[in-house]
Amino acid sequence: MSDEETQVSRREFVHTGLQLGAALGVSGLGGLTIVGEAGAQTKRQYPWESLPAGETVPPTKLQLRTIGLGVSVQDRFLREFERRTGHKATGKVTGLTPMITEWLAGGYRNYDTNETNANRNAALWSAKLLQPIPVDKVVPWKSARDLFTNPKALGHDEVSGWPLVEIWVNPKTQQEFKLVPQFFNCDSIGYRYDLLKEDVTSWGSLVDPKYKGKVGILNDSLLTPGWCAGYMKKNNLAQIKRSDNMTRKELDTVIDFLIKRKREGQFRAIWEDYGQCVNMLASGEIWLADSWNPVVEDVKKQGVVCKYAFPKEGFTAWFHGVAVAKDTPNLQAAIDYVNFCLEGWWGAQVAPQGYYSPTTTCETYLKASKRTDPQGRFNDYEWWYLGGENEEPKKGWPIRGRDTGSFRKRWSNVMHWMVWPDDADYYAKRWNDFLSA
């Protein structure tokens, strides 16, 4: 996405800021005064609020040192945070495992926040390397989606307690965050519609002999057996109680099934990172893969007809969040950063990658832009959250709106959340058996 695409006009910024302020019902605070290039003065209540283009807040003595994946730790985000708050922001981009390993090995002293997958964050929380964040410090949380506050919400899993159980110190009272949700989504199957010439509607396509030698799967000892278990369970191919957290016997059934398929030559390649999956799908090395939404969006950008499946068994759900280091000397900057990520601008930035924001504040920004729909009928909110529904598909494309439709449609079809299983060691052992088979 170019800067041009992401910039909202100065008027929109002011307007959005005012709307947000009003929406949040914040009043009575002194407010901050920022002097812009033109000498105009802007009143804001919080340092993380939107700021007219061209204006910059003078530097403060605080800094923000964050670490996370390339999807959330991006220079353009950090520069905007710096411009709004004056806190010097630096970010380290890494993988999930190195990040957690670095923190556990004492690296947490070098960072103020970490941006991680919820199922891995539990390791840092249980090692007492994080501090709880009081809910009232996260102002945009007043616009949080139901999914992150209500155990009755669409997409909430009663058995695992996800996602609430990984967000809150106490999911019942919801007073303190362990991890403040930053963005979330569901994984499914990416496929080359032009090569398959049909829609994929089940996880079973990945193990269907019809597509022998055309399938790519993710090298992940938890996620891959997870979707396969979900597929086998929902299609009565195996007795599995919880596809997200299997017993040894259940996992054995799933892995043996996968090994059989592997030996028959079902899988063309096992993919390991984001770019690799994009390249494999775009070049036609693989025709379908268990995939991520932004991967599919990136393949589409190369002019290739690629779609994101709506599996009948359901999606696999996850969320990433921001956690704050135990002894950070920059606590205020860390809290400002958490607020900044939920204020709306950030959420609007990641929407075109296919991600959802845990707060509804991004709607204001998305409604003000019309960049995704090829026919220009829908604004970005209508496309990414409501799903768009063009009568005519784009010329040469099978897509009438966003793949898999609206937010509601997607979240009413969750197979399971990606939880950390009780017997992760055994998952690893059996996954190695699969790889070496």
Binding site: T97, I100, T101, L104, A105, A122, A123, L124, S126, A127, G213, N219, D220, S221, L222, K262, F267, R268, A269, I270, W271, E272, Q276, N279, S283, G284, E285, W420, A424, D425, Y427, A428, K429, W431, N432, D433, L435, S436
Partner: protein, 311 residues
């Protein structure tokens, strides 16, 4: 003020005493050569202790601990080794690793001998020799990762090789065997390691006395006979040095298998990464220790075959 006048007088005295100390020191070291060599190896030893010894000792220690969800737990046990060595998967991966490395080594030897021989005998002009040797080395100026990834656009379904073969009408459908198979992995490994063999072989060849080659020719040996009976035995040091490089690099290999091998057949080093991916640091350490031991055993067995120190 007085102080400003004193330095000129003191400086020569200092110089004299320094020279004296150095002279006495040198004399002492000449009388005690053992101390001299000890001092010479000291900086290297300290360096190796800090950056190799301590990390290695830590890995050995961790391999006897337990991986908890939130880090390593110093709960001494031999479970990691028992689970590792008692399971079939480990042995399957170990045999596969050796299979890959031995085929890689054999291929590199077959490819490197003619190349080194050609640079030595066929290219006569010294400038051309340097130029050709340089050509062998130039790809190594880019990173190992880049050189591996470069094979993707070469061998892919829409890659250079498939396009050429399709255009020539040799094949009707793109060949899928070229990428994400053990074959593509082997091709990648050969290209990565060949320079480690060409260099030492060429160096050994240049040490062969011209008269020996002339004598073989005069006595009527065919070029092939000369190669097998003269060149091959005399280049054994180069062959052994090159083989050691390939063996050690090959045993630590993981990237080529992941990127162009399709990641469906992990080798031992890749297994370490996969354990770390799910926070199994203790069993990752156990595999690392086992791999180190296997490498040491392999290298010492190779040195037993031919002791490089005797060259």
């Amino acid at each position: 003020m007085r102080q400003t006048h004193t330095p000129p007088a003191k400086a020569p005295a200092l110089e004299v005493s320094t020279t004296l100390v150095v002279r006495r020191g040198v004399a002492f070291l000449e009388r005690h050569p053992g101390v001299a060599s000890l001092l010479l190896v000291l900086p290297g030893t300290i360096w190796m202790m800090l950056f190799v010894g301590i990390p290695l000792a830590s890995i050995v220690l961790f391999s006897f601990w337990r991986s908890g969800f939130a880090g390593l737990v110093p709960d001494y046990n031999v479970e990691n080794y028992a689970a590792l060595l008692g399971g079939r998967t480990f042995w399957r991966i170990t045999f596969w690793t050796y299979e890959v490395v031995i085929i890689a080594l054999a291929g590199v030897i077959v490819l490197a001998y003619p190349a080194a021989y050609a640079i030595w005998r066929v290219v006569r002009d010294d400038r051309w020799k340097t130029a050709v040797l340089l050509l062998c080395v130039v790809p190594f100026w880019t990173s190992y990762l880049t050189r591996t990834i470069t094979w993707l656009p070469m061998f892919g379904r829409e890659g250079v090789v498939n396009r050429v073969l399709l255009a020539l009408g040799v094949i009707g459908e793109p060949l899928e065997i070229l990428l994400y198979t053990p074959y593509s992995m082997m091709w990648g490994l050969w290209s990565l390691y060949i320079v480690f063999m060409i260099g030492p072989l060429y160096h050994s060849m240049t040490k062969i006395d011209e008269d020996v080659m002339s004598a073989a020719a005069m006595l009527g040996a065919t070029p092939l006979r000369t190669f097998f009976h003269v060149v091959l035995p005399l280049t054994r040091p180069g062959l052994m040095a090159g083989s050691l490089f390939v063996m050690v690099l090959g045993l630590g290999e993981f990237f080529t298998e992941r990127v162009i091998g399709g990641a469906q057949n992990p080798m031992l080093a890749g297994l370490i990464l996969r354990q770390i991916d799910i926070f199994q640091w203790a069993s990752a350490s156990a595999i690392a220790v086992t791999l180190t031991v296997l490498t040491l055993v392999t290298v010492s067995a190779m040195l037993r075959l031919f002791d490089l120190r005797k060259v």
